[in-house]
């Protein structure tokens, strides 16, 4: 198998920055807003999403390419992928509980949330839609996970600041969170065109 290193880097960087799943494609916003109150839990959530994304990409790609497409079952993609992601999350949960109880205790609440995390699902679908090879699919999953982690960590920093600030009564709580999320998302639009010009 031939590796095109440049295209892998482009896929990775664009998944992290340009097409950041949370801030550019608005997928997986629920955990982004829900568990970004402190750094420990947001980093935990980010890392577990990263892990599940890689696992899901590695599991769904062969099933799509070797099982669904040859049998003309492309329309079953959504159902089958959700089934696989849910199974994976369950397995990860069981394994973590047995062998790494400390990590399980800190992630415990977030792991089941991942089952229905649309960012994970979107990564597997976009791998197929972009006709990536297996390696490219894995790299894009890593990029998507890192992008999610990056967005979570940055937004936690922002939220710690807004918690200390004293916004007007009407903006307290959820409104100021949504406004700062929107501004952060706008900031990520600045990465538009960076990747294409990086490797000219």
């Amino acid at each position: 198998m031939e590796f095109d290193f440049k295209s892998l880097v482009i896929i990775m960087m664009s998944a992290v920055l340009v097409n950041n799943y949370v801030l550019r494609q608005f997928l997986g916003v629920c955990p982004f807003l829900g568990v970004s109150k402190d750094l420990k839990s947001s980093a935990g959530m980010g890392l577990s999403v990263l892990f599940v994304m890689i696992m899901a990409a590695a599991a769904t790609w062969p099933i799509q390419v070797y099982l669904l497409t040859p049998n003309g079952l492309g329309f079953m993609q959504t159902v089958v992928f959700i089934l696989i992601i849910a199974t994976l999350v369950q397995l990860v949960e069981v394994v973590l509980r047995k062998f790494l109880p400390a990590i399980f205790a800190s992630l415990g609440i977030y792991l089941p949330l991942m089952t229905t995390n649309c960012a994970v699902f979107a990564v597997t679908i976009s791998n197929i839609n972009n006709e990536y090879t297996f390696i490219e699919a894995l790299v894009s999953a890593v990029g998507a996970g890192l992008g999610f982690l990056l967005a979570m960590v940055i937004f936690t920093g922002v939220r710690e600041q807004t918690a200390a600030a004293d916004p007007p009564e009407a903006f307290k709580g959820i409104p100021i969170t949504l406004i700062s999320a929107a501004i952060l998302s706008l900031a990520f639009f600045a990465f538009e065109g960076v990747i294409e010009n990086l490797f000219k």
């Binding site: 003309g72 079952l73 079953m76 159902v79 089934l83 696989i84 062998f99 200390a164």
Partner: protein, 263 residues
């Protein structure tokens, strides 16, 4: 028609394989959980306040099930919880519940303490403390922005005239306020507390007198008159040794500055 059957078969097989994998994994990696932990969790108040010394109710429940700790470490739960835990674990309730209360050692409200500036910044004690130790002239006292009020899980603290007050009947003694107070003006004592010295200023008497009408000026009167010998003056500040105090309340009556208060 054929494609529908293929779809059903493929999805069904994938589903079955997934189910089999999860079942096998769960059986192989079965983790034995003490069934009492769950029951203990339902007995404990679930406030996760940390008064027991564990990070949350779950940690305490785990330790209880293992028999590592005493059952009387949960002040928010009160006697009710204590009895239920003993009943569940088959212990006898001999030792009794250790009940505690928080005390805010400051009487320097807006009437008695001079302010050194008008503070218009972020209205939290933590922020105010950063700027020359707060707006009051005494930097040992309560800042009055109510960081403790916001965090108190039992709503036992209120602010009047820029000074925090604890409602002893409501306080569960969880020590959460202790951790957020930037001046360290709060202490948590074992009940019953009969008298308390509500001043933390360790400066010389003359300086304290100038700053605050209710500050301890270390006149030594309470030390001399306490028949139990429970009061001592360290660093120009009177301190009560609660293991010796018998609660006669005499010191509160004779204190010149009225900074000793009887409950």
């Amino acid at each position: 028609m054929e494609i529908i059957i293929t779809a059903i078969i493929v999805t069904g097989v994938i589903g079955l394989i997934s189910a089999a994998m999860i079942t096998i994994a769960t059986k192989l990696m079965f983790v034995k959980v003490d069934p009492r932990v769950e029951k203990l969790m339902s007995i404990l108040p679930g406030a996760n306040c940390g008064a027991c010394g564990f990070s949350g109710c779950e940690g305490y429940a785990n330790a209880l099930a293992k028999g590592e700790v005493a059952a009387n470490l949960c002040p928010p739960g009160g006697n009710d919880t204590y009895e239920k835990i003993n009943e569940l674990l088959g212990l006898d309730a001999g030792e009794g519940l250790v009940s505690k209360t928080a005390i805010i050692h400051c009487m320097g409200d807006t009437d008695t303490m001079k302010s050194k500036m008008i503070y218009n910044g972020i209205s939290t004690c933590f922020a105010a403390k950063q700027l020359y130790g707060g707006q009051g002239s005494c930097s040992f006292g309560c800042l009055g922005f109510g960081d403790c009020v916001k965090i108190c899980p039992s709503h036992a603290i209120c602010i009047t005239k820029d000074i925090a007050h604890v409602d002893i009947r409501r306080c569960s003694g969880c020590e959460v306020c202790l951790k957020v107070c930037p001046t360290g003006v709060i202490s948590v004592e074992k009940m019953p507390v009969h008298v308390a010295i509500l001043c933390r200023n360790t400066e010389k008497g003359a300086i304290v007198k100038d700053k605050c009408g209710r500050g301890c000026i270390s006149c030594m009167k309470c030390v001399r008159e306490c028949h139990a010998g429970a009061i001592a003056v360290n660093e120009s500040l009177a301190v009560i040794d609660y293991t010796k105090c018998d609660g006669c309340g005499h010191c509160a009556e004779i204190c010149i500055k009225k900074c000793i208060v009887a409950y």
